[in-house]
Symmetry: C2
Subunit: 298 residues, 2 copies
């Protein structure tokens, strides 16, 4: 079977490799030459630009970062909407505001294509293992066309309705929680350090207690190891909690906890940590409170 994957970062690379391992023929593109070479080394057909990656293809999976990049792919510099096979399926995995997903779907459908709103969750490791959680919404025709892809790359597919935007809304709810939980985990972990507690003991206790979260369990080893190599960066939550902030304001919905968390990601980005792992928010707390974390330069 054939598909194109646009965007070969940690999530797109995992999806592409999963499909390659399942015997698919995959054309791919990424602006990052190293990502593209890695994809080719795994058996993918690397292409010099988006248009050549999607030309005449019936299934295009977009794993770019946001709504603007998705729109540019489709209707701007990528020419996807006018290049892929008529009646083909565009699967959009980027996290974006529901209204943007609705608008993109309408434009894509007007161009004679199918659109599946399909944000993903689970992280790079599960992407590579073909075990993503996918939140999906779209027309029954889009779901039918997407079935073989979803079956290959996901452990769980939540079907959230017949209209694009429903899945995007669900993903934003998840991102609110994910972003708050990483910042709260950082706040708690640095407070623990300030109180003189052993951080590995804190990890062991919290992961066995009512204070645990998926993000605490997944991210706090980075703080304990002092290793902020980005799996997912601070800038992702500057973006996603920024979308929550915009949505909340538009809806007249107060979201004070997400707002407080956003400030901490902004502080992290503002102090030059934007490209580090999102758990680098802990460094902001450490700096503000005069606490030395593992791995800190003396």
């Amino acid at each position: 079977m054939f598909a194109s994957v646009i965007g070969l970062g940690s999530m797109g690379r995992g999806i592409a490799k999963t499909l390659l391992n399942a015997g698919w023929t995959i054309r791919g593109f990424d602006l990052n030459a190293k990502a593209l070479a890695d994809f080719q080394a795994c058996g993918g057909i690397s292409c010099p630009n988006v248009a050549s990656a999607v030309e005449g293809q019936s299934v295009v999976i977009s794993v770019v970062v946001n709504a603007d990049q998705t729109e540019d792919l489709l209707f701007g510099s990528g020419f996807v909407a006018s290049s892929m096979a008529r009646g083909g399926l565009f699967i959009s995995c980027a996290t974006m505001a529901p209204a943007r997903a609705e608008a993109l779907a309408a434009k894509v459908e007007a161009a004679g294509l199918l659109y599946l709103d399909a944000p993903i969750s689970g992280g790079a490791a599960r992407a590579a293992a073909g075990e993503l959680t996918i939140m999906a919404s779209g027309t029954p025709e889009a779901f039918d066309a997407a079935a073989p892809v979803l079956e290959a790359i996901a452990a769980k597919v939540f079907r959230l309705g017949d209209a694009a935007g429903r899945a995007a809304a669900m993903k934003m709810v998840n991102q609110l929680l994910a972003g708050v939980h990483i910042a709260a985990a950082s706040e708690a972990m640095v407070l623990a350090a300030r109180l003189g507690l052993d951080l590995q003991a804190v990890y062991d206790v919290i992961t066995s207690s009512a204070g645990n979260s998926w993000m605490f369990e997944n991210r706090m080893p980075h703080v304990i190891d002092g290793d902020y190599s980005p799996l997912s960066s601070v800038e992702i939550f500057v973006k996603d909690l920024g979308i929550i902030n915009d949505m909340s304001r538009a809806l007249r919905f107060p979201s004070p906890i997400a707002a407080a968390a956003l400030q901490m990601y902004l502080a992290a980005s503002g102090t030059g940590l934007g490209g580090e792992d999102d758990s680098a928010v802990a460094k902001v707390y450490a700096g503000l409170a005069g606490v030395a974390l593992p791995g800190a330069k003396a």
Copy 2:
């Protein structure tokens, strides 16, 4: 074996019943007559006041709400420190600031008794099943004396050092996270309702995604069912995030996310929801945003 349990609320009752089921002889007291009658119906020896419950006893387990109540038990109206057997063990389960635990331990030890700082986590169901997580710190003598109790009531005991206060500090770190997670879960759940998402679908997706937390999974069924019967009340987090607030201020440690969460519990309490389940914070968001939650009066 013999012990006294003071405070027979949801956690104390579970601890007492677990010990009774294991064949212990348990004397107990609670100000609430119904709690006391329930304890007696399970085979406990209900006592008319604290002093008669602890008189001459070698092991007293205190499952009251806070440091002030613990101190009043020991040295105020309860006369515990002067009533129990010399050399006996006082196990303190209340959540409190580390400095209060240190001071209480010093006073208890000066009175010729052993003190174990032993806050608990896990909720009422795990208390009743003898499967609590216990964070404990204290002298080796206190741990030796406490061993049979801890073995009976806990699935996990984390031994956090030789000094009272270390366990209290760990518990505060857990409570910071627990309190933030319930408020964030409420913020996310009501935003989801505002976005028109089906709340059961939100629950199913989030509990399979990176946005999950122990508290989201445990508390959000209350919101979906519209049932705010208190398992643990709003006032508990007014207290515990209040302690975090006090500690943070004293330590010059900024904790903006805990601070934002505390405001929501204060709003819940201020609007009359203090005695309801802590998930009633969701009602505050619903009220602020004009969202109807399940179970709301029309």
